[in-house]
Point group: C2
Chain length 152, copies 2
DNA sequence: GCTTATAATGAAAAAGATTTTCAATAGTAA
DNA sequence: TTACTATTGAAAATCTTTTTCATTATAAGC
């Protein structure tokens, strides 16, 4: 299933005239597999292990390309706002572990009533919303904050 | 009411041993009056009109001080994440005009049921949430996007 | 008021993050 | 293989934020 995602992303890249290069294989594979948001530096550090000559600038360029294809999306957190994770189709919200950074998507917010009430009270016309939940994932609850298991 | 806020902030600054200086008066006044989030550059540009010798570094320092006193809070937006607005007491959410940037607070989300459902499905323990609504304020609706009225 | 201690200031330098430039390289189609 | 050109990484440039430091100015004590 993750492998399919990797193949799909590579296909989407090729479909829009992009070439499949070493740096892109690595970066796509890491991003498509990641269960937490990675910023350019983290991504570069991880990818460099398998592709030592990788330049940070290629990481920036690949992130930009993948984001413009809506394959990844930016994740805002209190302390970092420049991290990316595989994007979900459709309208979804994020659930983030504030300990290890693990991210999950969920859907089905029940904001209709709230939005109508706020529109009435404020006079604004609401067109979009951000909803993110923060908490502890099951693993981090079990560890009780003693250790943190990070990616790789 | 806004004047009271200015006085309160100045009092809070003094109460914790800070000195009341020219740069601080100006910055507090602008931030306490602003109805949209301002980033360091914008704030510096506005404040410089009244205090030309103001250094950008004092803007950063004042923002840090006011934030640590919980008098202002950071506002995240799709394109800028380093802007600040007067903080609200208690748990509140933001409503932002995506045209002019005007910000309002609202309370009373109805997320209890959703949070419980997501906790069940995910195994996460949810501890906090971010909810922001984006839309068009009444003024920007009236202008139909022809003009944008910005601060000062 | 005058003196004094020291918090605050702005210029400059440093550090970090991101973007641009450019010559060399390598993927792709013919 | 060849030719075209997208992509690469190094280096430079640009922006943003933080640190350093000598100078200034607030506020407390007299
Ligand atoms: Mn953000
Ligand atoms: Mn809430
Ligand atoms: Zn976790
Ligand atoms: Zn507006």
């Amino acid at each position: 299933m993750i492998e399919e995602r990797v193949q799909e992303w590579l296909g989407r890249l090729q479909a829009c005239g992009c070439r499949l290069t070493g740096p892109r294989y690595i970066l796509v594979e890491i991003l498509a597999r990641a269960d937490r948001a990675l910023n350019p530096q983290e991504l570069h550090a991880i990818a460099s292990q398998r592709y030592p000559s990788l330049g940070l600038v290629s990481v920036y360029r690949t992130l930009e390309r993948l984001e413009s294809l809506h394959l990844i999306q930016r994740v805002h957190q209190p302390d970092k706002c420049q991290a990316y994770i595989a994007a979900f189709d459709g309208h979804q919200h994020l659930l983030l572990c504030s300990q290890c950074g693990r991210v999950r998507f969920f859907d089905g917010d029940e904001l209709g009533g709230l939005v109508r009430r706020v529109e009435q009270e404020s006079g604004y016309r609401v067109e979009d919303h951000w909803l993110q939940l923060f908490g502890l994932c099951d693993q981090c609850q079990a560890l009780q904050g003693n250790e943190v298991v990070l990616y790789e």
